[in-house]
């Protein structure tokens, strides 16, 4: 357990010493979303109707596109092989890395989303649902994404390959969330969507890190 905490601490430290990598996609999506009214023209009705969906899609993709750097540096400087060889189980280290990754990616964007929502005249129900959906979906995305990151380590193919590998698992979450936000904006009950998203999250928490761990071992055994 201690090693999970230590890994989270280590990774956060590294992120903050070198914010470039991790904030890049975040900054990107924030910029895209905020420059939106510029592109659309600031008519409140239209904005209110579509922004929740846009925020959701952009936020989700952000977590996808920062994920390929998750193990890359550790792989290149040789600390990843130290993690494999160490006495502490690799699985716990993986959990730690995933948590750290989510904290700086998914959580930040989740916390910023109500602000963006308000900027774009999304109604309260819509904002609430967006936050809830992101809260449930971003960890899932990070968990699933880490599998792709592990499997493509050392292949020199980076982001695209991961995106292709992960997309099938992402798609249901993406669609479920859009439906949920639509439902919420319309003022209806979206408990069903929440339950579905939560179920996917629950199963990912248990099994995705296992697959990631195996993926790392496979990628490094070469």
């Amino acid at each position: 357990m201690r090693i999970i905490l230590l890994t989270v601490k280590r990774d956060l430290l590294l992120y903050f010493r070198k914010p470039g990598d991790i904030f890049n996609p975040l900054a990107f999506s924030l910029l895209v979303i905020s420059l939106f009214p510029l592109g659309v023209g600031p008519s409140a009705d239209i904005l209110g109707e579509i922004s929740a969906g846009i925020i959701w899609v952009a936020a989700l993709l952000t977590t996808l596109f920062s994920i390929d750097l998750m193990f890359k540096e550790d792989y290149e400087d040789g600390t990843l092989e130290q993690m494999i060889l160490g006495r502490e189980p690799l699985l716990l280290v993986v959990y730690g890395k995933i948590i750290a990754q989510w904290l700086v990616g998914g959580l930040v964007i989740t916390l910023l989303s109500p602000l963006l929502g308000m900027m774009f005249y999304v109604n309260t129900d819509g904002i609430l649902a967006t936050v809830l959906a992101l809260m449930l979906a971003t960890p899932t995305m990070t968990l699933i994404g880490s599998i792709g990151a592990a499997l493509t380590l050392g292949l020199n193919k980076g982001g695209v390959l991961i995106a292709i590998l992960i997309l099938p698992l992402y798609l249901p979450v993406l669609i479920l969330g859009v439906a949920m936000i639509d439902t919420a904006t319309a003022g209806d009950n979206y408990a069903g969507h929440v339950l579905w998203l939560a179920a996917i999250l629950a199963i990912s928490i248990g099994f995705a890190p296992l697959a990631t761990e195996q993926g790392i071992r496979i990628s490094l055994s070469e």
Binding site: R2, I3, L6, R10, L13, L14, R17, K18, E73, E76, D77, G78, T79, E81, Q82, M83, I84, L85, G86, R87, E88, V93, L220, S221, E222
Partner: protein
């Protein structure tokens, strides 16, 4: 005790070694040498369990976690020497006090650099920080890939002493090196193709 039987490995369509068999007992160091590209690193990684495309049989006798230091030093450029070593100990399941870490760094004459990020150190200083692990961790098996690269002669001497102590306390060492090393209990293995 390490026992290797009939080890064969092929890489990039070239046979590196075939039916290699040897054994290393406790207290003995094995130095692997050979031309560039002859497969030293590959062999060490096989022994450490990091490379798996081989045929044959590697038997360490008992459960163990080797201390492996390869061409890639396993240091984070953005973390200080102290942080790096502390993390090394943690991942190795070892609870360490900061004072022990500092002591290990002092042993490799890096006592003045505990708080400096490894990214702003010279080549050899990085090597020293990485090798400070030998003074900090308690693993019985060491696997070192060209540990003397970029290290100056006083550094080499200090390392040799540490290794001899490790051997005399019953440790095992497998290392690769292009230069000869004055160790007490040395066995040699040349790879040729």
């Amino acid at each position: 005790m390490l026992q290797v039987n009939n080890l064969s490995c092929e890489r990039a369509n070239r046979e590196l070694f075939r039916n290699l068999s040897f054994e290393v007992s406790r207290g003995v160091a094995l130095r692997i040498h050979g031309l560039n590209g002859s497969g030293k690193t590959t062999l060490l990684r096989i022994l450490a369990g990091l490379y798996q495309e081989f045929e044959g049989d590697v038997d360490w006798g008992e459960e163990h976690y080797p201390l492996y230091i390869g061409h890639r030093r396993g240091l984070k450029a953005l973390m200080s020497a102290r942080e790096n070593l502390f993390w090394s100990a943690a991942i190795n399941g070892q609870k360490t006090k900061l004072s022990e870490v500092d002591e290990a760094l002092r042993q490799v004459s890096m006592g003045g650099y505990v708080d400096i990020a490894c990214g702003s150190m010279s080549e050899g200083q990085c090597g020293r920080v990485s090798l400070a692990r030998l003074f900090l961790l308690h693993n019985p098996v060491w696997i070192l890939d060209e540990p003397f690269n970029a290290i100056d002669s006083t550094g080499v001497q200090c390392l040799v002493e540490r290794i001899n102590k490790h051997l005399s306390s019953g440790g095992i060492l497998v290392l690769s090196s292009h230069v000869e090393v004055p160790l007490t209990n040395l066995q040699e293995l040349e790879l040729r193709y």
